[in-house]
């Protein structure tokens, strides 16, 4: 079996098929026009290329003015969340072959946040909400001389929400956030969940109080857009519902 393979195609071993793909990018430059426009770029891509690789090819070889954020390029830093074919994804985790390269692939900035240029949005409203839920350990009393012990079961309670990379894919996929920028948004609630259900943390009731706002968890309509958008596979809507439940058990 191996011998036949070697005999028939010795030269093509390890070769990756390449194809041309059209990227339809939403361009915006406030110094030129107040209106944003679509621009098509056709690039040669390999079967293993991601959308980010195609964006790089455009920026490096075709149009250096194309602006987008990216840092680690490996799905960890959360810089390059964009709307690809109408869905929020990380450009560095989305393979071109998975988003139907036969048709033009649309690439837009994430919705609900002010666009600065091309695919770059102002993340400040997003991070302001994140800061408001106090994403740090709150304790009382003396510092222990050893580590703060936590059982594996207690750790597992909030394991899912520790995975957040703050890419804003969930918050900017939320239809409530699109029309109401004052809404805390899924990401802030997920990061509050991470501390509310941490057995070592004692600021739970403060965080619940902050999120028991008109613009807090009660604006969630459980449309599951955030769960679908999360590139880390966090069950965002479930986390929001757990925060709601904690509030109700606290109130009654």
């Amino acid at each position: 079996m191996t011998a036949t393979l070697e005999a028939t195609a010795p030269s093509s071993a390890g070769e990756i098929p390449s194809f041309t793909v059209t990227l339809r990018v939403r361009r915006f430059n406030p110094e030129v026009s107040e209106e944003s426009t679509w621009e098509d770029f056709t690039v040669e891509a390999h079967g293993t290329d991601r959308v980010l690789d195609a964006l790089h090819k455009i920026k490096w070889d075709m149009d250096g003015s194309l602006t987008f954020r990216r840092s680690c390029a490996h799905g960890v830093c959360g810089s390059d969340a964009v709307r690809i074919n109408g869905r929020n994804r990380l450009a560095c985790k989305t393979l071109l072959k998975d988003v139907n390269p036969d048709k033009p692939i649309t690439v837009e900035p994430i919705k609900g946040l002010p666009v600065i240029k091309d695919l770059v949005v102002d993340m400040e409203p997003f991070f302001a909400s994140y800061r408001e839920i106090m994403p740090f350990l709150i304790t009382t009393g003396n510092e222990p001389s050893k580590e703060r012990y936590q059982s594996p079961e207690d750790r597992a309670r909030f394991d899912d929400t520790t995975k957040c990379i703050l890419c804003a894919a969930c918050t900017s996929s939320c239809p409530v956030f699109w029309t109401d920028g004052q809404y805390f948004g899924p990401a802030a609630i997920v990061n509050a969940h991470r501390f509310i259900f941490d057995s070592r943390d004692e600021g739970g009731s403060q965080r619940l109080e902050i999120l028991n706002d008109k613009e807090g968890v009660w604006r969630c309509r459980t449309t599951f857009n955030c769960t679908e958008a999360c590139p880390r596979g966090i069950e965002v809507t479930k986390a929001i519902q757990e925060v709601k439940r904690a509030m109700i058990t606290r109130a009654f």
Binding site: P114, K214, G216, K244
Partner: protein, 154 residues
Amino acid sequence: MANATTAVAKVASPRSPYARRKTTRGNYELYSWVFMRASGVVLLVLIFGHLFVNLMVGEGVHAIDFAFVGGKWSNPMWQVWDLLMLWLAMIHGTNGVRTIINDYATRDLTRGILKGLLLLAFTVVVVLGTLVIFTFDACPADAPAELLASFCTA
């Protein structure tokens, strides 16, 4: 120093000056969320009970006439049933539409007008409905006897 301050003020902020308009904490949204669930469950019983009694029991839908309604509203049990159904359904529905207005109306003025109209509609229906349930006269004086409930002639 004063010149420096004015110079700084002239430079536009590079970031959007994001600020929460005001904190709107409180248990109002929590209670309204719980109310929606609780009233929904109660309404299921009330509405399907109502439909069953009106459309299925006895002659079913053919039994409904002035006498049938008059008979029901002479019974305190059905008065309370219908009153509860009216109030719960109206508050449940109004609260639902309120959240929809909050979700879709972006401008404060639009939201205010829509909520005002909603409150007006709510008040008219609830006041009128409550009035009818309690002041309904099952036996009007000059009506033909065959249209009235059996207890009128007694």
